[in-house]
Amino acid sequence: MENVTVILAYTGLVLMVLLTGIGSAVGTVMGGNATVGAMKKKDDAFGSYMLLSALPGTQGLYGFGGFFIINSKGIISASMNMTQALAILAAGVILGVVGLISAVRQGQVCANGINAIGNGHDVFGNTMILAVFPELYAIIAFATTFIISQSL
């Protein structure tokens, strides 16, 4: 039973970092791929492409931040109780899944924006604003993790 709590807690931490990391990796790749295409048409807007490509990178950082907040509490040990372990697991699932999906979807918005800029439409500002819409939910998930960690 003691091991079960530790396994659950670490599963939470794994999901937190793993899923958000995958999401950010996929999201930034989408931006990167679109950039390579757009460079053929308009190579003087690389700065805009790069900023938009980097946007989905933050979810991975939220995952890592969440891991750090919980890990630095120093409570993961054989003596922790089941409620604490489940709370950490829940935080991991919330941040992991929301971070994964929001990063991938954000990557799609950014990639479309990059394509549009490549085709000569001046939509850099608009794309940035729209692209941070899905990120809000990863932020909420990060804040949730923070609140959970306060109650551990």
Binding site: G65, F68, G125, V132, E135, L136, I139, A143
Partner: protein, 670 residues
Amino acid sequence: MIVPMTKYSFLVYHKQYEEFLNEIRNIGVVHIIEKPFEETQTLKANKSLLNEYSSTISALKKRLKAKNIEPESLVNTENTEVDGFTLLEEFKNYQQRLEYNNQKLVSLKKELSAVEPWGDYDLHRIESLAKNSLSFRFFVVSKHKFNPDWENQYPIEVINEIAGLVYFVLVQPNKENFEIEAEEVRIPKASFAQLKSEIDFFVNDSIKVNNELDNIANQIAVLETAKNNLFGEISFERVKLSTKKEADERLMLLEGWIPEENSSLVSDYCDKIGVLYLSGKPEETDKVPILLKNNKFAKLFEPIGKLYSLPAYAEIDLTAFLAPFFMVFFGFCLGDAGYGLTILALVTYYKMFKAKADIKPILTLVQYLGAATILMGMVSGTVFGVNLLDTGYLLNSESLKFLANSNVPQDIISKISSIVGQHYATRDQYFAAISGAIGAEGLNEYKSEFMRSAFSDYSVLNSFRHLILDSQNMFNLAIVFGMFQILFGMGMKAANMIKQKSFIFSVSTISWMILIIGLIVLQGGAAGGYFTKEFVTTPTYILLGVTGVGILFFNDPSANIFISFAKGLYDIYGMATGIFGDLLSYIRLFALGTSGAILGFVINQIAVQFLSIQYAGPVLFVIFLIIGHTLVLLLSVLGAFVHPLRLTFVEFYKNSGFAGGGKAYKPFTK
């Protein structure tokens, strides 16, 4: 602020029109209202020529950039005798020649690589021998399939062995036909030497062409002038085409907008030459061009506002009001005083010594953002990832004296004397020790006094460390900022309503503001223990009643009371869900600040590990810190710029009732 505009309609006699347009263009303040027109062939041709100029100039700029030459440092166009069009044509010709040379070089190099294994030979001799009944056949075979006996059996000569392939030639009388199990290849039609010389020719020609192109690049200013002149011609043509012709095309009717402050420039001229004109204030349906005029500080934030949209003419320009929020929010998201200082120092240096005049306003904006980051970094107590709250806690006899002077009861002081002299690295450890000694209640009651009485490892922090907000308080501060900006936005909406319509249209919004502020004061006060629950009950009902009337019955004063009531009900639903969502959105301020601080902290932790390495340790420590913090800074700056943008354009603009959609004022000028 939006500059007030006056609408002008000019009626000009056709013979005077050209001169009139020229002078209007010289004055350069009229924004012409373009009417739909059909483009003439000349206009189409000029537009395509303008594109050619633009692409040529951009290609030449790249050429100059590759050679680290600033286009501004070149040429005086006044003295040159070359005209822009000739240069453009020359550029096109040289560019085509360069492309042709490149294509030729690719195919020649391909041929050369096929000929190379056969060495240099004389094709004419081979052909003349063939006429005299002795033909040459070229073969290629892989080394392991090549039979050395062939050299005895057939009249063959191995020419070369490259990359596992054997190249050999068979010399046979025309009557014979030897069968060899190897791949026969076509005799290359050009010899090695011929191909080499052709390649040399095209390479040299490309060098010449590149020199000519460089020469053209040095005269880029000529092209720029020609482009600007052409742009002027196109604008002129467009204005002429969008002119309405009256009285058998003898009278020209032109309409435009002029900033009120400049209108006398045009009206004086018209009076002088006798052109008839009418002027008047814009009507509600007019699409008036927008010219912003803000003070020095707010002007810096105009590019940020333009990222979304310019305001509509009837609205209040929000630039001056979004500026302080944007600054503070940027600082909140970046949230590290060290990073703020770095930005401020680097940008100030760049601005003073390197920057061109046109980017100085942007740099000033970045300086403000850096200063805001320092401020917010001090509030959260983060400097280069180091949390100032966790800088050691030590209680000594002076601390006890301070507690006694701060009216902390003597029994509590005597209880905590057990931890006097103990050193605690972090605030949590310090509070845990106090809580252990006097209980959680005592700690909560005198938290501030305990913070102030403890000595830090760094004495410089002692005077202000108790003012630093911890994570929980930063979370709350983000929400408070959010609430403040939302209420401020509502205030702007009410002001807009009053400006555009009348006070009665703003009653609903003002009621919402009073309701929210009232509820915060009454219910928040009761929850915080400032009022009793009984005390706030009646004022809360009165508040709900009074503001409810405003919200429900004044939602749309232009409609009848039932429709206004229905709209009010819908508004309540929208507001209840909207405000909650909007407030949550401000949590991003806290989340970004925290995640940035965590990354900075981790960089420090890893860097400290390097110190244990002998000799190289300190060097690696410094290098890792610089690289690590640079990366974190770049990542965090991106988030710290984008997220306040969203808060401004979505939450603030929505609650301000910002419609936007204004088109920029573009005067007809040279």
